[in-house]
């Protein structure tokens, strides 16, 4: 307080009660019963991403027009934005808070846009930093293996990847048709990983000639060989001529090998492989029918893929189960049973039950079995446990053998690209912790996004940066007064018939203006984007602008704790807690 004035009479006094000095002495912060504070929180999309992408931050950078940084933000967590932007089933969008308002943000389309944008960036040939002395072997060059290699290389390890096929990429290369994932996109992202110093040795199988035991000169081994064995139907005739395995067929297509098929092709199964096979065969000009033993609702294939397949002329017959494949010259005669749905099974889906005496016959030229994939286990060393068709692992992919880790489809029933990338990242963290003698569980626990199970490696490499609490922002915590409805942007899609002319991409990348519009749709749940609402609304002028990195702070000398900033923050980036007394 500067000076207490006491007037002797009214005539000495000013007209109104006014302090001719300032009020800095009056620390009204002492009146505060609750305290607002800036606290970035976890967005539901970030938590939902199995690969652990920092979605909210990369979109924030996009909104600022900084596509390069957006790309780097994704690359911090995930070496495959071009792949994921195209083939990921985007669970982030299912959790997007915008879904409660109009439609979820097209996150996959933005990721794809950013990765395509990055093609044109001038590549800086960075000198690789000195390697650590530890060497790590990775078996399998799919998204799990290459993902793990990428992060280990960034942690300066000497990494060698062993791949049995002639090219790296695993299921990304062999299992996904190029109308969904063009080969150049994959090549580019694999090259980026190799440029970090990762050595990929192709054409090297782990079998009786080279066994896992032979790799014990490496300080750690990560096995991510995937699930490539087509699951049989166990019906008579399935080994017959002209009956193919779905995954084998996709491999042949992806390797541009010749495939002899008749005019009518039946595909048995309801997963993504069945759909990929069906659409590939349609592109060969054949008539395709999918036979699935349950109904549409139980189909494990992604809905979008199913829709596109139907647009392309693929027929699907539900509640049909082949029980015998008879050879009749070159024709196949499928004996099928009609099914109905019974009680729910262990997968939570209704179990198909045969209708007695409902047998009927179908004549086709070829049958392709796509009833799921199993893992190959013959090469695995003793000491690695298996259960329910997968390798059993602990946090970070640890197996029963010290120093040996496993991940990807080999160790999980959640067989998606994003899950594989996430498991590769966890394994990289686990290997680093193992080699440093740190407790893996503790390290992973600290890096969980929200409530997990996905992890973020960024805070591991950059402690103290982009801090956020694990609280996941709910729709109710956002202030919808600041958002207007706007339509989800979509890329151009080829018409059904036009797609059948080749293996070109079905959907195009968003054009820049559409991508910007779409990025504007992001609520930015829990992340301050310096919209300055707090600054404008604070009735006590107690929001201070600071330097660039952290733009605002609360002036606790004067903040009375009214909570207006907390309420007016559109995106839940301000928290309010009771003042400690």
């Amino acid at each position: 307080m500067t000076k207490q004035l006491t007037f002797k009479s009214a005539s000495e006094m000013p007209m109104v009660s006014i302090s001719l000095g300032d009020m800095d002495w009056n620390k009204t912060g002492a009146w505060r019963a609750q305290r607002p504070f800036y606290e970035n929180k976890t967005s539901p999309c970030n938590e939902a991403c199995p690969a652990g992408n920092d979605i909210v931050n990369f979109i924030l950078k996009m909104r600022q027009g900084d596509f390069e940084t957006a790309w780097r933000v994704i690359k911090d967590e995930n070496p495959f934005p071009g792949v994921c932007g195209r083939v990921c089933f985007h669970p982030c969008e299912s959790k997007c808070n915008r879904g409660h308002f109009d439609e979820p943000v097209a996150i996959h389309a933005l990721e794809r846009f950013v990765s395509d944008f990055a093609i044109n960036l001038a590549k800086k040939k960075e000198k690789l930093p000195a390697r650590k002395k530890e060497k790590i072997a990775i078996v399998g060059s799919g998204p799990a293996g290459m993902g793990c290699a990428y992060h280990l290389a960034k942690l300066h390890y000497d990494v060698t990847v062993f791949e049995s096929l002639s090219m790296a990429g695993g299921m990304l290369r062999m299992g996904i048709p190029s109308y969904r994932l063009p080969k150049d996109v994959l090549d580019r992202e694999i090259l980026d990983i190799e440029e970090l110093g990762v050595e990929v040795r192709t054409g090297v199988s782990i079998d009786e000639h080279l066994r896992v035991d032979d790799l014990y000169s490496y300080q750690a081994i990560f096995i991510a060989t995937g699930a490539h064995q087509g699951r049989g139907l166990h019906i008579p005739g399935e080994k017959g001529k002209g009956v193919f395995n779905g995954l084998d067929l996709l491999k042949r297509v992806n390797l541009n090998k010749k495939i002899e098929l008749g005019e009518r092709v039946a595909i048995i199964g309801g997963g993504n492989t069945a759909i990929d096979v069906a659409r590939s065969v349609r592109r060969m000009g054949k008539k395709v029918v999918i036979l699935y033993r349950r109904s549409k609702d139980e189909m494990p294939a992604f809905e979008e893929e199913v829709t596109e397949a139907i647009e392309e002329g693929v027929k699907i017959r539900y509640l049909v189960n082949p029980i015998r494949i008879q050879q009749k010259e070159s024709l196949k005669r499928l004996e099928c049973l009609r099914m109905e749905l019974g009680e729910k099974d262990e997968s939570g889906r209704r179990r198909p039950v045969p209708i007695p005496n409902s047998n009927f016959f179908m004549e086709v030229d070829n049958a392709i079995i796509a009833a799921g994939e199993e893992i190959e286990t013959s090469f695995l060393p003793r000491g690695i446990d298996k259960k329910d068709g997968i390798v059993l692992t602990h946090t970070g992919g640890r197996t029963g053998i010290e120093g040996v880790f496993a991940g990807g489809d080999l160790a999980s029933n959640q067989r998606t690209v994003a899950h594989a990338i996430g498991s590769g990242k966890k394994a990289a963290l686990a290997i680093d912790s193992y080699l440093k003698g740190n407790e893996v569980d503790k390290v992973i626990q600290l890096l969980l996004i929200g409530n997990g199970p996905s992890v973020s490696i960024f805070p591991y490499l950059h402690p103290g940066e982009r801090m956020r609490s694990s609280h996941v922002v709910a729709f109710e915590e956002l202030n919808m007064d600041y958002f207007e409805h706007s339509a989800r942007q979509k890329g151009e899609r080829l018409r059904g018939k036009a797609r059948l002319n080749g293996y070109g991409e079905v959907t195009s990348t968003l054009i820049q203006s559409a991508a910007l519009v779409e990025s504007e749709r992001c609520f930015g749940c829990g992340t301050c984007n310096e919209c300055e609402n707090c600054y404008l609304f604070c009735p006590d002028a107690s929001i201070l602008k600071r330097d660039e990195t952290l733009s605002h702070q609360v002036d606790y000398d004067f903040c009375k704790g009214c909570g207006i900033c907390f309420v007016e923050c559109p995106r839940g980036a301000i928290s309010l807690e009771e003042e400690a007394r």
């Binding site: 006491t6 006094m13 007209m15 109104v16 006014i18 000095g21 009056n26």
Partner: protein
């Protein structure tokens, strides 16, 4: 320029000619067309005034308080419940000595729900420290707004200009509209007492302890006491420039009349006709129109009623438990005087019921016929 316009349009012309910088208002019948008129002009770009949309009358007045403190001439208009909702901010405007001008279109307060004219809304704000000026016709509405800014900015007190719902607000009359140049000569730009300067920050309306609060209120009373002199000067100047003036009160009819009838607002127009008729019939009657309610024109009235034995007053309002509010003020004003007439306090026209010539005649007749009122409150036109 002479145009046929409604009372609410006259308000809008007054605001435009006063070069108001900021308008903030919330719509309420019967005030709505004022805001519509002004906001349309602003939206079309023809009026370079800022219009601030708000979610309530309380906020409208709060916005004006901020603007006026910042040295901006500002305006709002409201009615009835809207005015009641502003109540807290009305005290603030006068306590902070801000020369805000507001129009209130008189409307009854519910329940029962009612949108028609009576004065209970403005009169229930009589203790908020606002000057209150009541208007009889649309010309007076426009002219009073121009005068109101002069008075307000001179004594640093807010002014409420009051007109009757529908009878004025939505009824068209011929109105002489002064030119901008003429008004500019009459009304100079507003200069705040304490201009805001970000280089020299000040805190406004800071706490005043019992040590000083008392004196600030004393100063408001002293400012109110200046109003009769200032208002007369402003009115005289206005009359000399525009040929029209109104005074705090206006007396008409027979000199030295036996009975005087006091009215405010549009009832006065009707009363003029009745008094003229009764004079022609040989009655000794005259009328007094009260324009300024706050501060109440004690001295002007005392001068005007000298020698009068009986004074009838019609209140279009009711302070339940007491009676008419003008009547109360009148009694209080005359009590210290040595000679006082008998006061006949009539209440009429609540909730917009017409106060017809025959009702007014009945009131005068009653006053002529009685030495003193038989009842404290004389209900005029009540269906008992």
């Amino acid at each position: 320029m002479r145009r046929v316009i409604t009372g609410n349009q006259a308000v809008a012309y007054g605001v435009i000619l006063s070069r108001v910088d900021l308008i903030s208002a919330y719509p309420i019948t019967p005030q709505t067309t004022i805001v519509e008129e002004l906001s349309e002009l602003i939206a079309s770009g023809r009026l370079k005034t800022k219009f601030l949309k708000v979610e309530s009358e309380h906020s409208a007045m709060a916005a004006l308080i901020g603007a006026s403190t910042g040295g901006v001439r500002c305006f709002t208009a409201t009615s009835s419940h809207g005015l009641a909702y502003m109540h807290e901010m009305l005290h603030w405007a006068s306590g902070a000595r801000l020369p805000i001008v507001m129009v209130n279109v008189n409307r009854a307060l519910g329940p029962p729900w009612n949108i028609w004219s009576d004065q209970s809304d403005s009169l229930s704000q009589r203790d908020t420290g606002w000057v209150q000026l009541y208007c009889e016709n649309n010309q007076e509405v426009l002219d009073t707004i121009l005068q109101a800014y002069r008075i307000a900015e001179s004594v640093k007190l807010p002014v409420m200009v009051v007109l009757d719902a529908f009878v004025l607000s939505h009824t068209s009359e011929a109105v002489e509209i002064p030119t901008m140049d003429e008004v500019d000569k009459f009304l100079p730009p507003y200069c705040p007492e304490y201009p805001i300067d970000t280089q020299e920050p000040m805190a406004f309306s800071v706490i005043a302890t019992p040590e000083h609060f008392f004196e600030f209120r004393y100063k408001i009373q002293k400012a109110m006491e200046q109003v009769p002199r200032v208002a007369k000067k402003v009115d005289d100047e206005f009359r000399s420039m525009f040929g029209r003036g109104y005074g705090a009160i206006e007396k008409y009819g027979k000199e030295g009349a036996e009975v005087l009838l006091m009215t405010s607002g549009t009832v006065t127009s009707t009363s003029r006709i009745v008094i003229q008729k009764l004079m022609q019939e040989g009655y000794s009657v005259a009328g007094i129109k009260i324009k300024r309610f706050r501060p109440f024109p004690d001295e002007e009235i005392y001068e005007a009623i000298k020698g009068t034995k009986k004074l009838a007053i019609i209140d279009r309002n009711l302070s339940a438990g007491v009676g008419g509010i003008f009547c109360q003020e009148l009694r209080a004003a005359l009590y210290p005087k040595e000679t006082r007439p008998q006061i006949f306090g009539f209440i009429s026209g609540l909730g917009g019921r017409d106060i017809t010539p025959s009702l007014i005649e009945e009131a005068i007749q009653y006053t002529l016929d009685h030495d003193r009122p038989k009842e404290e409150i004389l209900w005029l036109g009540l269906k008992r």
